[in-house]
Symmetry: C2
Subunit: 354 residues, 2 copies
DNA sequence: CTGTTAGCGCGTTCAC
DNA sequence: GTGAACGCGCTAACAG
């Protein structure tokens, strides 16, 4: 049963000012008498003191919170990103408020509204719609906002994304080297998202460079799910007369899972010689006996850039800098004959706009 | 640049009450004239309205938030639990505030203090220490608190956990059936946690019932990590003269990953005939060609029970009911000859205490 | 149908 | 060294 400053002042007989000074550790500065201090401190250690953050927020117009809107928190990438963001927040005494949009624009709008109403000091969004940006533009100035993961290129907000083009390029090159130039299909979920378009561009570019025959088809589905992965793989197997591809690449772990499940269902087993590539990395990929390429996004670098954009404006006044960063991702290889490993690097210069 | 109720009232010339009634959609109920309503609505659609939740919280002494403290959010089980909790919260117009403790008592205490200061209406904790409970007991009455996942049996707070004993029993029985009674080692991380003790009891019980020789060792480590899994598996392999076990069970996915990595490293490959059992389920287990048993906790049932305890007290006055629920988990089988499947069920009656 | 007013608990400023 | 008083934006009770 901890008390408010007011209660403590009433019950100890001192004024709220005195109590506050002691509680906030400013008793030295304002030369509160040691006796007074001790009485108040004893009372607090005995009864406790419950700090009311709402009142503080109301007064200071600052909530010491950061909002994070992600499409899906059971997605390993966003869960990990959230963990890293939270760590950064904790270091600055901020509380991270995470809300999932489930790729639904209506939920996303609601989430944003809810977070803004709660007066978040910053807002990080992995948007599922381009339309969120003009909507947010109206609230410009109240909190600093950063868009991540999907660059709808509105130019309205600072944006931090992984270098999906280079990732696609590097992974495809690596796989083509393993398959001696024989191309392979690319199974894409969420095909309309800008991040996926970039991955596809990287894939195409590498195929143009190095292909020596094969089947470099690009399959596309509108959602990103195990089911979408299954559908695309079934199509591949059916069109090849019941034979699974010798190699394939997936735009996400969910697509990969669906694809592998489908092979298992239709063929009975997954040939361990099938060459696999996928975006996003997961320790569970260790479970596969196959040669596997994957692209690991650099969550640390992403979040530190995000925080730079988020906190930066405070320091430098209200310069409405709308910069954009592309963070290098890392190519990870498992179970290869020639244990290759290299990082893809490419850093787009920050762009300033008014 | 949205406005406050006060600004709107001043600039439209109507009183705050009238403005509020229109904004809150109660204009019908209080028969605000259509003209007035239209003027205010037009003003709002033009200039926007920014709701200040801090002020509302201060006045109503209610924050419309629920706190969730979990050991690790990149752990798939807690991430999923969080997703389900969030969905339930959204349905009740609550915001879920999730903080990770990273299994660190100090961080856990800080997280709890921070959430309480922010006036969460409810608090859900997967504690990493028994000591958190007496500490929380001091704040009793301000918010309803529910402990989950780990039952330190303090009797101080309502508790919701999965039925780890029956889970261990069912999985071990299933595996023994597959291995024709030959027992196998159980690799345990976080061995001191009550949930793990229960899993071990289930394992032992099943071995007592059905064992017909074999090696039913129980290895234990204090942490739950890939490294712990590796260490235990190395020990097994070394002591068996370089031969991996024909079957083994793990207390978590992390331990399993470590164990499999170790086999790969030391032996070169994972024999697909090795029988594997693990607590917690993950779609990525589909990637393994091996016969796999796993225990899937029922997140839906867990969270609905959690909410019952969380919200219940409000409805029934302040009855300090300290009940405790054990939720059945489900045995999942993959790649078995005899595709078995059965659910373990056991429901401990709720216990009432003063 | 509409207007007025008193706080919620904290931070600040100024007065004794 | 200590105390009093105001206001942040919203809600609710009451007054017309």
């Amino acid at each position: 049963m901890p008390k408010t400053v007011d209660e403590i002042s009433r019950e100890t007989g001192f004024s709220v000012t005195t109590v506050r000074l002691v509680i906030n550790g400013q008793s030295e500065k304002y030369r509160i008498s040691g006796k007074t201090r001790r009485i108040i401190e004893d009372y607090v250690t005995l009864h406790g003191y419950s700090f009311n953050h709402a009142a503080r927020s109301l007064k200071l117009n600052r909530s010491d919170t950061v909002g994070f809107v992600a499409p899906d928190l059971s997605n390993a990438f966003f869960a990990h990103l959230m963990a890293v963001l939270e760590a950064l927040c904790r270091a600055r005494n901020l509380l991270l408020l995470t809300v999932a949009s489930h790729e639904d624009p209506i939920l996303e709008n609601r989430a944003v509204a809810s977070l803004l109403a709660r007066g978040v000091d910053g807002l990080v969004i992995a948007p599922c719609q381009a339309e969120i940006q003009p909507l947010l533009a109206k609230n410009r100035g109240r909190t600093s906002i950063v868009m991540i993961d999907r660059d709808f290129a509105s130019g309205l907000f600072p944006t931090v994304v992984s270098d999906n083009f280079s990732g696609g390029l590097a992974m495809t090159r690596g796989m083509l080297r393993e398959s001696r130039g024989k191309t392979f299909p690319f199974l894409c979920g969420h095909a309309k998202l800008p991040s996926i378009r970039d991955r596809i561009r990287g894939f195409s570019e590498a195929c143009r460079e190095m292909a020596e025959g094969g089947d470099g088809r690009i399959l596309q589905e509108m959602d990103d799910s195990i089911e979408a992965g299954s559908r695309m793989m079934r199509q591949l197997i059916d069109q090849a007369g019941g034979i699974p591809p010798h190699a394939f690449m997936c735009s996400s772990l969910l697509i990969l899972e669906g694809a592998l499940q489908q092979i298992k269902t239709q063929i009975g087993r997954i040939d361990p010689s099938i060459l696999i590539g996928t975006f996003d990395d997961h320790t569970m990929l260790d479970l596969l006996p196959n040669p596997v390429f994957s692209i690991r996004q650099n969550e640390k670098a992403l979040t530190s850039k995000i925080f730079e954009y988020l906190i930066g404006p405070r320091a430098e006044g209200k310069k409405t800098v709308c910069a954009s960063s592309v963070i290098a991702a890392e190519l990870v290889c498992r179970n290869l004959e020639s244990q290759g490993f290299f990082a893809s690097t490419r850093q787009k210069a920050a762009v300033e706009k008014t």
